[in-house]
């Protein structure tokens, strides 16, 4: 490239220039000012955090509460097996944190090396299972949110002699794919429980808010609500990764359809968005939700939420590890060929006070 070459030579040729020396000094001075400014900012932040202590909440309150991290030591003397869990969770989902907390607690008791990986894309999730088969783990825990993608790898796991337990989603496919058992909630049954509860509360028109397109379990939940609810149900799709958008969508819907008297969200984080949307829209609708977290427990206690349906994610993680251990140790299996149900459990204001503490430590 002659052009660049020429330019390079031209730039590299020393050019006597009276400004060169001074320019250098300026740069040094500028850097020094920058360092000083940075120091000042750091000092200010440090000062603020020292003087502005909060007596409520924060890290210290969390430390005072019982830690969620798995505690204790192995209660068995079986060899240290390795179990891996692969889920369809997106990045940073509280629900799957609780599942993991359960699994880790069981892993500690059962002397298990617990590995975890997740990917929301079916193909990627299958590849993750592949890598654990390569690693020759002693047990696999897999979610079947997109079952067809997992069929091949589960067959491969079976061929490699790795026992598989499915959790959370995949009630129908679990057995056909050769899994030992399935631990989770039947989404249709959970939806029906919500429908019955809504009928009991004499609601007329419900809005079912789906935050993840393509999730079969979510569709089943809303179908279940529709099946057992005496009133009418309308579905609303929102983008679950964009919370302001979720709120705006629900708000718009509540403004246009004034006769909606109950909103059902399919995940705990979205209940709060629905509550805020309801306030903005000036609606009287009752907000109910699937799943539980600290915020939902607080809101239930305060009365801003009607009820929650929990599928007890802690149990799904805990039982999966424990059942694999039982299978390895004693060839035991729970469920008698049927899925082991961890939900639905309807939670109202009466139960909320007790559960608040458990949600704060990340086990409910």
């Amino acid at each position: 490239m002659p052009d660049t070459w020429a330019a390079g030579v031209w730039l590299n040729t020393p050019r006597p220039h009276p400004g060169v020396q001074r320019e250098g000094h300026d740069v040094v001075a500028r850097v020094r000012t920058g360092v000083r400014a940075l120091g000042a900012v750091l000092a200010a932040v440090l000062g603020a955090s020292l003087t502005g202590c909060s007596s409520t909440g924060g890290k210290r309150a969390e430390e005072r509460a019982a830690a969620a991290a798995a505690q204790g030591k192995a209660a068995v003397n079986t060899p240290r097996w390795t179990f891996a869990m692969v889920t369809h969770s997106g990045a940073g989902d509280t629900f799957w944190d609780i599942v993991q907390n359960g699994a880790k607690q069981a892993a500690v008791k059962d002397n298990i090396d617990f590995l975890y990986a997740n990917n929301a894309e079916a193909q990627q999730q299958a590849q993750l299972v592949d890598t654990y088969i390569d690693k020759k783990v002693d047990g696999l825990i897999v979610t079947l949110a997109k079952p067809d993608a997992m069929k091949d790898v589960l067959t491969k796991a079976k061929k490699a002699g790795i026992p598989v337990v499915t959790i959370n989603s995949g009630t129908e496919e679990s057995k056909a794919f050769g899994a030992l058992t399935h631990i989770g909630q039947d989404e249709t049954i959970a939806g029906e429980a919500v429908g019955e509860e809504l009928t009991k509360r004499s609601k007329k028109k419900a809005l079912c808010v789906l935050h993840e397109r393509g999730n079969v379990g979510h569709e089943q939940r809303c179908e279940g609500v529709k099946k057992s609810f005496k009133g009418t149900v309308e579905n609303l799709y929102v983008d679950g990764t964009n919370m302001p958008d979720v709120q705006a969508s629900i708000e718009a819907k509540l403004q246009t359809a004034k006769d909606i008297d109950s909103v059902v969200t399919l995940g705990a984080p979205f209940a709060d968005a629905a509550v805020q949307a309801k306030q903005q829209a000036g609606s009287e609708a009752e907000i109910d939700t699937f799943d539980l977290n600290a915020k939902v427990a607080d809101s239930l206690d305060a009365g801003t939420l009607g009820f929650a349906v929990d599928q007890q994610p802690y149990l799904q993680g805990y039982e999966a590890v424990d059942l694999l251990w039982l299978y390895r140790y004693n060839a035991d299996m729970l469920g008698g060929g049927k899925p082991v149900l961890t939900g639905p459990q309807i939670i109202t204001k009466d139960d909320a006070a007790e559960l608040k503490a458990y949600t704060k430590r990340g086990t409910r």
Partner: protein, 347 residues
Amino acid sequence: MTATAPQAEHDERLIRTSPLRKLMGRPELGSIVGAIAVFLFFSIAADSFLRASSFGTVLYAASTIGIMAVPVALLMIGGEFDLSAGVMVTSSALISSMFSYQMTANVWVGVFVSLLVTLLIGVFNGFMLTRTKLPSFIITLGTFLMLTGLNLGLTKLISGTVSTKGIGDMEGFEAAKAVFASQITIGSVNLKVTILWWFVLIALATWILLRTRAGNWIFAVGGEKDAARATGVPVNKTRIGLYMGVAFAAWVSGQHLLFSYDVVQSGEGVGNELTYIIAAVIGGCLITGGYGSAIGSAVGAFIFGMTSKGIVYAEWNPDWFKFFLGAMLLLATLLNAWVRKRAEARS
């Protein structure tokens, strides 16, 4: 410039370059150094990384990215982006699956209809770009969003659910599966057919870039569009052709998705377009166009595959995966820039 520069004694175009310097000037060199580093790193950090069966898994992961990274690299050499590439894969799979199912046609009919429609999407991208003269970023962003919506909307409308109906029991499925999603087992290594597709695409793209007139056009269009036009390069045709190349690869990847799992989730593919661009950039493609190689993109995809699976083999917390990826991207680009600067300074 003064005439006193001593180097000007020889015509620099006639200076013979040593093989080493020639090597230093190759766009993929930085990425190959990076790939070796990543390979050594995970060989030490993860004991199961070096197993033969793991190699098959890593290659498969690399090939699913690499098939798309090859034409995306060509497109970037031509100076353009395609943000719709990730979703186009899903679109292509959806089209062939739903067409076959709804028409109760032989699966191959759906596969070829899908090829036509996907290529048309590519033509649309290229045509809009050359006609409107808007940045490709905007045009393909529009296509990306429209395809995302169409995928969901049409699938729900036609199939009633968000995923397509299974076509595993239809005529021609087994043959198509053999072409797009089969695997052979050598010893304990499972090699998927995508790896073969990937290598063929790399070879084809390299041949086009380095041995044909079209290859010169691609470099010229990416380097300086107006100068290229002035010297008689068919700029518009080249660009439309590049977008069709991306569409073709999207078709291959889409059919692989379909025939591996026999149903397609309509919401997937979002975000993958960046993965392809990252692979191309790690492989030495310049964001501004005019420089890069197909082999580089393959090395980029291989680094991607090694990192994503290596983290699992090493039993690290996957929460950090994106961080490592970002660091890897920065390091690879820095290494590339450094190597290139050294190479240019010496020649």
